[in-house]
Amino acid sequence: MTQPSPLEVMRWLDQVPDPEIPAISLVDLGIIRHVEWAGDALEVTVTPTYSGCPATSIINFEIEKALRDNGVEKVSLKRQISPPWTTDWLSEKGREKLEAYGIAPPQPAGGPAQCPRCQSSDLEKLSQFGSTPCKAQWRCKSCLEPFDYFKCI
C-alpha cells in the first residue's frame, strides 16, 4: 500500500473516541503529539493526560486497532511525557462537544464559566476531583444539577 500521510492518519485517529469521555476523540483531547513514518513503520507519539490515568493502555490499544483497521501493518507507539499535556491542547471542536455532552470545558480562571445545562453562572464547587482524573465536580445553583467540569491544567 502507499503510505498514508500523517494528516490522513490524524483524520483516522480523530474518529477514535476517548474511552472515558467518548463524546470527544483522542485528537480532540490533544494527546496525539506526532505522527510520522520511520521506514515502513508508522510512529505515533502519545502523551498521557495524568500520570496514573487508567485509560492509558486502552488508549494505546485503540490507536493500534484503528491504524490496523486502516491497513497500517507496523505501528510503533512512543510515550512522551514532556512537554506535559495541558488542557490548552483540547481542540475547539472538542470543547464544544464536551459542553454539549454536559461537561463544562476547562477555563483559565480555574472553574467552569457556566452550567452546561442551563447556562447559569451561579455555580459552586463540590469537589476538586471527579469520576475520572481529568474532572472535578460542580453544581449549578440555578437548576440545582451537579455536573462535571474538565479540570484546567
Binding site: 496514573g52 490515568c53 476531583f129 482524573p133
Partner: protein, 255 residues
Amino acid sequence: MSGLSKSVLYDFCLRMGDNTLILGHRVSEWCGHAPVLEEDIALANTALDLIGQTQFWLGLAADVQGEGKSADDLAFLRDAWDFRNGLLCELPNGDFGQTLMRQYLFDEWHWAMLTALQNSSEKRVSDIADKAVKEASYHLERSRDTVIGLGDGTAESHDRMQAALDYLYPYVGEFFEADTVDEAAAKEGIAPVLESLREGYDAAIKATMDAATLRLPDSRFAHKGGRNGRMHTEHLGHLLTNMQWLQRAYPGASW
C-alpha cells in the same frame, strides 16, 4: 554515564519513586472507606496520580540500573530494607484528618522538590518533574484547604488535627537532611541541595498552620532511616505484605 553517576541517579530515582509508591498505596487504602463520596474519589485520584508517577521514577531507576528489570519488579520484588521512601510516607492512615495532614506535609515538600527538579541537569528527571509538578500542585491545593478547614473547624476536628500534626511533624525533617547520595546528586545538578528547600517549606507550613489555628511543635527532632533504608518503621513491612501479596503467594504471576 560513569558508574558513580549511574548509582547516584538510581538511588535518587528510588527515593522519589518509593515515596510516591508507598504513599500512593497508603492513600489507596481509603478506597471505599472515606467519610463522604467526594473525598473517597479525591483520595483515589490522588493515589492514582502518585502510582502513575511511581511508574515514571521506578521505570527510570530500572533503565539506569540496566539489569532488564521493570518498574513492577522494583515495586513488587524488593523487601522492606530495600525501600528508600521517607518514613512519613509509610505511617498508618489513622483517621481522615491524620491522612490529610500527612498528605499536606508531604505535598508541600513534594511540590517544592519537583519544582526544583524541573531544572535538573538530567533531562529524564526534568521531564518527569514537568509532568508530576502539575499533579502535585493540585494535590497541595486540596490538602492545604482541607487542613485549614479541619483545623479551623469544630473543637473535635481541631483537636484531632493538632494531634496529627504533633505525631507527624517529627517525620518531616528527614526530607531535608542530606547524605552522600543527596550530596552527589546535588553536585551533579541532578537534584537541589535538600536543605535549600527548607526555608520555603517552613514558611509555607507556618502560614497554613496559622490559618488552621494549629500550633507547630517547637522541637525540630527528626526520625530518620527511611530514605537510606537503615531503619524503617514496623509499619512498612505490614504494608508490603498487603501490597506484594500476589507476588509473594504466586511468584512470577502475570496476566
